[in-house]
């Protein structure tokens, strides 16, 4: 397939493309579009939280019949937070992040011509596209979209009597998620097979860049956990539409006793979080992989503790499947289970701490090239630490009792997986944009984008911890009915201002992205002086990635600033420059690291 070009039409090149690079761009642009919608939603509900009694014409414009005189209705508030969470977690940070970079980088960095199955890869994207469309359609259902929270706990999500969003809106939500899961599984299987089978000559598993390790392990977690969510959704569809009682029992609502007997909502919580917790790592690990690569390249230093990094990825992946119960300490499950989950949850702090320390050590004595991608990676380490540390509070069942479902939790998970993963995604886009589009993104706009975004991210989420510690529950439409929370009003205003500015600042990125696509500086073959294989391909995309033979790999990906004499920092660089491509053969007697 590489030696001769297929005749391409517009449709096979840009729409039903089977080329991993094009599919990657399709994932990215779809993910960005969904991201814009989810961010706009968050700005709407932040307006409501800051000024619950003020009428906004912008609310009228967006919400139509779901508002009264410019003030949103409680139902649509819940719908907004639900869809914001769903879109962000699944459509942006799973498909948009993993889909984009796994597709782009797996073949390019392991030296493969394409994914193991280009056709399945195309199917994966189009299922994702279809699920996005279904999710968007659900926004226009008369009774409103799903509004039971992104965790869609039944019975609230099962009974239209309980909340209007649990009617057609919820049905569409479930259909969309089922399609999404199919897309995600097909993609993940493809990634796993590709990494295992299509590595080029010399690319041992222990020579893989950490990006590939992260994508590979992420795909495995996805294959293990996503099917469980599919089952959970199917059972919920049965309960909703066919009268089964998997999750429902003993319900009296709207003046009548329903027929459901013997089910338990706690079962749904177990099934949901069996995916839901690994999902956090499905979102985060690719971002950490991207960061490892970018920090190392831009520090002009090898990533510190390569093997420890792989070990911690594997440890996190394993532990992530046995910690789900920490979302359920107060669900009514046996307290002994709570003890077990506290133990496993706090264990996960160890590999996470190892990763954070290793990033900081990689910075130490580096020659930091502070490109926008590098800044976003450094920002990721910062938010990952801030958000990760509060995990020690929430993971401890005894402390969780009192802060469960408060804004403390909202602050925690937004920092540790939301902001961190988004930063990872931005870092990846700035870094690999030249690989995607053959042009460079503008650095000045990148700098503006980064500093405003990180200031606003902390401005939003740092104070939020404290309103959580004041006892304010999340998903409250307004807290004006509780005089004890009146002193939180000003903080809510500050948070909203930061959120609005941070949201608007993303214009820097979007403009930079689309303008650079057509008018950006032309990229050189290896703009960041990086070691990995993707920078040995020509700037112009070709089918099969490398025009001639596939490259052969002789060393790991992190020989930055390697010296002739390993013990003497003042000696000359090996090969006379501060990076050594993976395709460069080892010299006689060279320590392979």
């Amino acid at each position: 397939m590489s030696e001769h070009h297929h005749k391409e039409t517009f449709v096979t090149k840009y729409i039903f493309s089977q080329d991993h690079k094009m599919i990657s761009k399709q994932f990215l642009v779809t993910g960005m579009f969904m991201g814009i919608i989810a961010v706009l939603m968050s700005m709407l509900f932040r307006l409501q939280l800051a000024w619950p009694e003020t009428s906004f014409s912008v609310v009228e414009a967006f919400l139509g019949s779901h508002q009264t005189d410019g003030i949103m209705d409680p139902d649509i508030y819940l719908a907004l937070v639900t869809i914001h969470g769903t879109i962000m977690v699944f459509f942006v940070l799973t498909a948009g992040l993993s889909g984009t970079f796994s597709n782009l980088l797996i073949p390019l960095q392991i030296g493969a011509r394409d994914m193991a199955s280009g056709f399945l890869n195309m199917i994966s994207y189009w299922l994702f596209f279809l699920s996005s469309i279904v999710m968007l359609i659900s926004l226009f259902v008369e009774a409103g979209p799903a509004s039971a929270g992104w965790t869609v706990y039944p019975p609230l999500s099962a009974l239209p009597q309980a909340i209007p969003g649990s009617g057609t809106g919820m049905t569409l939500w479930l259909v969309s998620m089922a399609i999404f899961i199919a897309s995600s599984l097909i993609g993940a299987l493809n990634y796993i097979v590709t990494v295992l089978n299509l590595r080029t000559k010399g690319m041992k598993m222990t020579r893989l860049p950490l990006t590939i390790w992260a994508f590979f392990v992420t795909a495995i977690i996805g294959v293990v956990s996503f099917p469980v969510l599919l089952s959970a959704s199917l059972l919920l569809i049965f309960d909703r539409s066919f009268g089964t009682s998997f999750y429902l029992s003993d319900i009296f609502i709207s003046g009548e006793v329903l027929h459901y007997q013997g089910g338990s909502p706690v079962l749904f919580e177990h099934l949901f979080w069996f995916l839901g917790h690994p999902e956090v790592y499905i979102v985060l690990l690719p971002a950490l992989g991207i960061t490892s690569e970018i920090i190392s390249t831009n520090s002009r230093k090898p990533i510190f503790g390569y093997r420890a990094m792989i070990g911690s990825i594997l440890a996190i992946a394993f532990l992530s499947t046995i910690v789900w119960g920490h979302h359920m300490f107060i669900s009514g499950m046996n307290p002994f289970l709570g003890s077990v989950f506290t133990f496993t949850t706090l264990l996960i702090a160890i590999p996470s701490a190892v990763k954070a320390f290793n990033y900081v050590t990689t910075l130490w004595k580096g020659n930091l090239q502070l490109n926008p991608a590098m800044l976003f990676s450094i920002g990721l380490v910062s938010t990952f630490v801030t958000g990760g540390l509060t995990g020690l509070v929430l993971g401890d069942s005894a402390l969780d009792i009192n802060i469960h479902d408060t804004y403390f939790v909202v602050a925690h998970f937004h920092l540790v997986m939301g902001v961190s993963a988004i930063f990872g995604m931005y870092a990846g886009i700035y870094h690999w944009f030249p690989k995607m589009y053959g042009r460079m993104m503008n650095k000045t706009l990148g700098y503006w984008h980064f500093w405003i975004t990180i200031i606003c991210a902390y401005g939003v989420f740092w104070p939020m911890h404290f309103i959580g510690l004041a006892g304010l529950p999340r998903r409250y439409y307004t807290n004006t009915n509780f005089p004890m929370f009146d002193d939180l009003a000003d903080i809510n205003v500050v948070i909203t201002l930061f959120a609005l500015v941070g949201g608007v600042a993303q214009i820097f990125f979007i403009a930079n992205f689309f303008i650079s696509m057509y008018r950006g500086e032309k990229a050189t073959q290896n703009p960041w002086k990086s070691n990995t294989l993707e920078w040995t391909t020509p700037v112009e995309h070709v089918h099969g990635n490398w025009p001639g033979k596939l490259p052969e790999v002789h060393r790991w990906a992190y020989d930055y600033s390697k010296r002739v004499d390993a013990d003497d920092d003042d000696s000359d660089y090996l090969h006379g420059k501060d990076f050594v491509l993976q395709t460069t053969p080892l010299l006689d007697g060279e320590d392979p690291s």
Binding site: L78, Y153, P154, P155, L156, L248, I251, F252, V257, S264, P265, S299, R300, P302, I303, F304, G305, Y306, R307, I330, G332, G338, T342, F343, A349, V360, L363, K365, G366, L370, N371, I378, S382, V385, L392, V393, S397, A398, L399, H404, M440, K443, T444, Y447, P463, N481, F482, P483, M484, D487, L497, V501, A505, F508, I515, Y558, S561, A566, D569, S593
Partner: protein
Amino acid sequence: MLALFYIFIGVAIGVSVWQITRIMDFRGSIANDSDNDAQGKYAMGFLAFMYAMMIYCLIFMNVIMLPESASIEGEHDDTLFDITFWLIGVVQFIMQFLIFYFTFKYRGNKDKKAKFYADSHKLEFIWTVTPAIVLVGLVGYGLWQWNNVMDLSEADNPVVIEVYSQQFNWKARYAGADNTLGTGNVNFIKGMNTMGVDMSDPNSVDDKQVTELYLPKGRKVHFRFRSQDVLHSAYMPHFRAQMNCVPGMVTQFGFTPKYTTQEMRDLPEVIEKSIGINKIRRAKGEEPYIFNYLLLCNKICGASHYNMQMKITVVEEDEFDEWLSEQPTLSEVIK
């Protein structure tokens, strides 16, 4: 405030447009030495911003926090929280310093050479083992406290109360003279029997249904939670207590109130918080706030989730007995 907001948005959009038009002038895409220098310094500026914000919040937001635990069991929660929070606070300050200081200190230039430093088993050993040891301590204390809170078996003569949730209100049922609750099921809901109590169960006869909780100070309260429609969560933040109410099953929690409502109102931190709240309420022309314990719904349950609350009053034991004796029994209410 609103004017400020529109100004903010206006400025933000203005700056964006201005910057974007300047994209034509700045064609640069790879950081050069002067970029590295400037961005490294900005990193220190950001570190200063972050420290200022962290310290400001830690000091000035103390007043909005929940006051000390009003239950005896919650005391250890507060201690454990303080230990954990100090610990992560110190780590946070150090780690953020290292991240942004290194960004500044090692900002690159053409003459610099990075150190080739790929591995150190000693360092990695240290930062695997240190968190592990610290975590053993935290987990140990946490698990001890968790068992302490969740174990309801040894309480001697507890007050048994059923907390009952539905969209969108709370009710409660006291076990009455026999201190045993009668069984309940949604099938029994009819007329005045709004909690679905099985009146054929002899234990139900002396149960008492109320819409406001009274608790005796110094006696263990054993809560049993039920829900008739969707998930709710009974959140009593002042007592460090929370448990979900799950349709189809009974969940439990227990604590011993430590301060009466009046004693709580007299705590200095509650007085200080109330003053702050009342300053805001006076400005808006609203009634002054007086501290009360509350039970809030903390699991998304529908449109009025944000307004699902029940007042809790803690009184001395004799006052509690007197109050309870005044409440009618279910057999008197449900004819």
